[in-house]
C-alpha cells in the first residue's frame, strides 16, 4: 500500500522535474541521463549478483542486445511507426514503449538461452558463460552490416528501390533514399520512470515471501532446496529479470546517444556495472544506487585520467575487499525486515 503510493507520487514528481530539466545545461543533462541508465543497470545486476548470490559478468551483452535491437527497429521500421501511430507526441510515445519492450524482451530471451543451461549446473559456471556471451554478442555486432558493423549504427537508409541498409552501398550512390536517424525519444522522464519502475519492482519482490526465496538461495542453496525452494528456477528468474532491465537500459541509452558502437558494450562496461554492485554492498539497494551515481560522476571529474579507469576500479575493489568487504553501505543500510502485524 505504502510503496504503491510512493511509486505513483514519484512518477508525478519525475513528470514535473522533467519540465525543469529541459532547460539545464546539455552536459549536465547527459550526465543525469547516464546516472539513471547506470542505476537501472546496477540495480538489475544487483538482483542477480547481490540478492541471489550468482555471479554474472556479462551485463553489457544484454544491454547491447536491447540497445541495438531497439534502435534498429526504430529506424528500419520508422515509416511503419510513423504511418501507424503518427508523428505527434502520442504516436512517438507508443512507438518508444514498443521498442523499449522489444529491447527488454530480446535481452530476456537471450538471458534464458544463456542462463538456463549454466544455472542448472552446480558450481559457478555463470561468470565464465556470461563473460563469453557478452564478448560473442559484441563480435557478432561488429560483423553485422545491418547495424553498421564496427563503424557503429546511426540510422537506416531506405532507398527508393526498396533496399534498406546502415550505409550507402557503393553501387547505389545514385539511388534516391531517405535516411532515418535514431529518434531522440529518451529524456529525463522516461529514464527516471524506468528507474522508479525497477526500484519498485525489486523492492516489492524482495520484500515478499516469494522474494525471500532469492535470499535463501544466496544464503544456503542446499538448505533452500531442502525446504522446497526450486533453486534453479529462482536463479533463472533473477537472471532473466536482470537481463530484461539491462535490455531496457540499452534501449534508453541508444535512443539518447542516437549512435551505438560495439565498443560501448565491451568487457569494461560489464566490469563497471559489477563494480557498482560490489561497491554498493551486494544486495543493498540504496548502496548500489549511490555507487551507481558516484561511479557515473567520478569518471567525468577524472576525465584526464580516464585511460586508467580499469586500474582505478581494480584498486578500489582491492581496497574495499580489505577494509569494507560488506560494501560501502552494507551495514548501515541494512535490508528491512518484513513487517508483520500480529
Amino acid at each position: 500500500m505504502n510503496s504503491k503510493i510512493l511509486f505513483l507520487s514519484s512518477l508525478i514528481l519525475i513528470f514535473f522535474l522533467n519540465l525543469f530539466t529541459e532547460h539545464i545545461d546539455p552536459y549536465y543533462y547527459t550526465i543525469l541521463i547516464y546516472i539513471g541508465i547506470n542505476i537501472i543497470l546496477a540495480t538489475s545486476l544487483n538482483l542477480i549478483n547481490g540478492y541471489t548470490g550468482q555471479f554474472s559478468l556479462g551485463h553489457a551483452g544484454f544491454m547491447a542486445i536491447g540497445g541495438y535491437l531497439s534502435i534498429a527497429v526504430s529506424t528500419y521500421f520508422a515509416p511503419f511507426f510513423m504511418g501507424t501511430f503518427g508523428t505527434e507526441l502520442f504516436g512517438q510515445t507508443i512507438s518508444f514503449i514498443i521498442v523499449l519492450l522489444l529491447g527488454g524482451i530480446a535481452a530476456a530471451i537471450a538471458g534464458i538461452v544463456v542462463g538456463v543451461p549454466s544455472l542448472r549446473l552446480k558450481g559457478d559456471y555463470l561468470a565464465i558463460t556470461t563473460l563469453g556471451f557478452a564478448e560473442i554478442i559484441r563480435v557478432i555486432i561488429q560483423s553485422l552490416e545491418v547495424v553498421g558493423a564496427s563503424q557503429g549504427f546511426r540510422g537506416a537508409y531506405i532507398f527508393d528501390n526498396g533496399v534498406k541498409a546502415a550505409q550507402i552501398p557503393v553501387d547505389m550512390a545514385n539511388v534516391p533514399y531517405v535516411f532515418y536517424s535514431v529518434p531522440k525519444y529518451t529524456n529525463f522522464f522516461w529514464t527516471f520512470t524506468f528507474v522508479a519502475i525497477i526500484i519498485y519492482f525489486i523492492h516489492n519482490l524482495i520484500n515478499s515471501t516469494y522474494g525471500r526465496g532469492f535470499l535463501a538461495v544466496k544464503d544456503d542453496e542446499v538448505a533452500a532446496e531442502s525446504m522446497g525452494v526450486n533453486t534453479t528456477k529462482f536463479k533463472v528468474i533473477a537472471f532473466v529479470s536482470g537481463a530484461f532491465f539491462a535490455g531496457i537500459a540499452g534501449a534508453l541509452y541508444g535512443h539518447f546517444n542516437l549512435y551505438l558502437n560495439p565498443e560501448d558494450f565491451n568487457f569494461l562496461k560489464s566490469v563497471e556495472i559489477v563494480v557498482m554492485v560490489i561497491l554498493g554492498g551486494m544486495g543493498s539497494m540504496v548502496g548500489v544506487i549511490i555507487a551507481a551515481v558516484i561511479l557515473t560522476i567520478l569518471p567525468e571529474l577524472l576525465r584526464s585520467v580516464s585511460e586508467y579507469r580499469m586500474i582505478i576500479y581494480s584498486l578500489l575493489l582491492i581496497i574495499m575487499m580489505l577494509t569494507r568487504p560488506q560494501g560501502l553501505f552494507g551495514v548501515s543500510l541494512r535490508r528491512k525486515k518484513l513487517k508483520v502485524k500480529s
Partner: protein, 245 residues
C-alpha cells in the same frame, strides 16, 4: 551408495511407519547422514530404491522431495544467516505460494491475502515453540540451542509427513537436551508426523524413540525396541562399547 570405490551405505533395508518415531544410531562415519542425503535427494543412490507413500523418490530433486512431504534438519546447522528467525521460517512457505512472480510485484488482493495467511501460520509456529520474542533477530545471532530449534521449526513449516532430524542434541547442555526430548515428543503428537532421528546421545535416543535401528559401516546390524538394542551384544561391540569405553 558408493562414492568412487567407497561403499558407504550398503543394502540398507529400513522403514518408518506412520506417526512413528524411529531412531537411527551408529558410530561416526557409519553412513547415517548419507542415508538422509539419499532420502532427501541430495545424493542419487548408485543402487536401490527409496519409496515414500508408494512413490519412488530416487530420481527426485531435493525440492521435489520436500514438496512430497519429507523435511529435514542438518547436522551442521544450516540456517539462512542474512534472514531473521521469522524469514527463515517464511522460506518454507515459498513452495506453497499460489500468487506468482507478478502478483508478488504488483501486490494486489490475492497476494495480500496469501501473505497474511503465511504470517499467521508463522506466528502460530513461533508461539508454539516459544520463539516469538526472538522472531525478528537474525537467526544466526541466537544461542546454539535456539538455532537448533529454529531449524526444526523451519522444517516443520514445510508441513512434512516425515521429519528427519540429524543429531539435534549435538552441542546442547543437559537441560537443553531434556527440553529437546519433550519438544520432539510434542512435535510427533501435535503434528501427527513420522520422525526419523539420528542421535549419538543415548539418553535422548532411548528416551524418545519407539524403535531403533543401528548402522555400522553402512550396514544395518540391529533393529528393535530401545531395550533390545541396549542389550544387543553386536551393538554394544560396535557402538556403545566404543563410545563408553
Amino acid at each position: 551408495m558408493r562414492f568412487g570405490g567407497l561403499t558407504c551405505v550398503d543394502k540398507l533395508n529400513a522403514y518408518v511407519g506412520e506417526n512413528e518415531l524411529v531412531g537411527m544410531i551408529g558410530p561416526n562415519g557409519a553412513g547415517k547422514t548419507t542415508v538422509f542425503n539419499i532420502v532427501t535427494g541430495v545424493y542419487d543412490p548408485t543402487e536401490g530404491d527409496v519409496k515414500f507413500l508408494g512413490t519412488s523418490v530416487v530420481s527426485f530433486k531435493p525440492y521435489q522431495v520436500a514438496g512430497l512431504g519429507i523435511s529435514r534438519t542438518f547436522q551442521n546447522i544450516r540456517l539462512f544467516p542474512s534472514l531473521s528467525v521469522r524469514d527463515n521460517i517464511r522460506v518454507s512457505f515459498v513452495k506453497s505460494i499460489k500468487a506468482g512472480f507478478f502478483d508478488s510485484i504488483l501486490q494486489f488482493g490475492r497476494f495480500k491475502k496469501e501473505e497474511k495467511e503465511f504470517d499467521e501460520k508463522i506466528n502460530e509456529l513461533l508461539e508454539i515453540f516459544g520463539l516469538l520474542d526472538v522472531a525478528d533477530e537474525y537467526a544466526k545471532s541466537l544461542p546454539y540451542g535456539e538455532q537448533r530449534k529454529v531449524e526444526i521449526v523451519r522444517a516443520l513449516a514445510t508441513s512434512p509427513k516425515l521429519l528427519l532430524l540429524d543429531e539435534p542434541a549435538a552441542g546442547m547442555n543437559p537441560t537443553e537436551k531434556f527440553e529437546l526430548m519433550n519438544l520432539i515428543k510434542m512435535v510427533k503428537e501435535k503434528f501427527k508426523i513420522s520422525i526419523l532421528l539420528i542421535e549419538h546421545d543415548m539418553k535422548v535416543v532411548m528416551g524418545v524413540c519407539e524403535r531403533i535401528f543401528v548402522l555400522d559401516y553402512g550396514e544395518k546390524i540391529a533393529e528393535g525396541l530401545p531395550e533390545e538394542i541396549r542389550k544387543n551384544p553386536k551393538v554394544i561391540e560396535a557402538y556403545l562399547g566404543e563410545t563408553h569405553a
